[in-house]
Amino acid sequence: MSSIYRTLAGGTLRDIALACLAVWFIGLSYGAIAVASGFPLWVPAAQSVLVLAGASEFLFIGIVAAGGSPLAAAAAGLLVNARHLPYGLALPDVTGPGLARRLLGSHVMNDESVVFTLAQEGLPRKRAAYWACGLGVLLCWPAGAVLGALIGGMIGNTGAFGLDAMFPAVILALIVPALRDRVMLRAALTGAAIALAATPFLPAGLPVLLALAGVLAVIKKPADQ
């Protein structure tokens, strides 16, 4: 951990802390919703540690609460989480050597840790950002979920505080530097348009994967670079 402090600028650590705080807030609403939907505390608690991927956990809880089969809910959640495979292909060796690091390092791969990693320059900083954010989310997501499940009904409508705007804003803020490259911007806009167009018709998760076709916008025009 001390090497994380040495490697990362204070500003980056503060940003990671804020992103983790946002995760904690979303965890609160996740735990509260799970309990309100009739699940005992241990379900969101175990999911938040073992799955550690918010969107898929919300979806799992939602489908099972609506009377769906838990296995179908797991399949839907896996579709949402399939994006972690291309994430892993895109990242440099951020976990470092050794089986234990690889296992834990893989588990803490999430949207936030990936986006903070991409925003850093050079492998040492990428590594430090990946671990700081990954471990931060590993702490904050379950902590939020358990607290949310405990205080459940006391949490009012989190939408009133605009918390649902925080996740997309976190991601957007961190990819903006990459989007200043015109080719990358075109690819991202194409991908976003594909995902938005597909959302009404396809199950959750699939539209975002289809967005990868936006990369074709990068392949086609190499002359622009």
Binding site: P86, D164, A165, A173
Partner: protein, 107 residues
């Protein structure tokens, strides 16, 4: 809650499958040597995935439109980010804009 065994089976399936996705990306990347251009494309792929994730979570809820308050907040954050505002300002401005719009009755 319905049949606990079945719910646990679903949870374990989701956990194990998600871990498999997370673990196999780096393993594949180590086994295969990509030409530099492919490496660039893979990184572009991650940015495109994240952009699509930001767009869909900003604009949609389930299979429909999320209402204008959330995307307006994210847009405000995006403009600030483009103008190189600090991360903290971007994220808090997004939440605050959405919260104020909802206070004014915008869904």
């Amino acid at each position: 809650m319905k049949d606990t065994t079945l719910v646990v089976a679903g949870m374990l399936t989701l956990s194990a499958g998600t871990f498999a996705f997370r673990f196999s990306g780096p393993v594949l990347r180590q086994r295969i040597t990509f030409p530099p251009r492919a490496g660039k494309l893979l990184e572009a792929g991650a940015v495109v995935l994240l952009a699509a994730l930001a767009a869909t979570t900003a604009l949609t809820e389930g299979h429909g439109f999320a209402g204008p308050a959330r995307p307006a907040g994210v847009l405000a954050g995006g403009v600030l980010a483009w103008r190189k505002a600090p991360f903290l300002v971007v994220v808090l401005a997004a939440a605050a804009t959405t919260a104020v719009l909802r206070l004014l009755g915008v869904p």
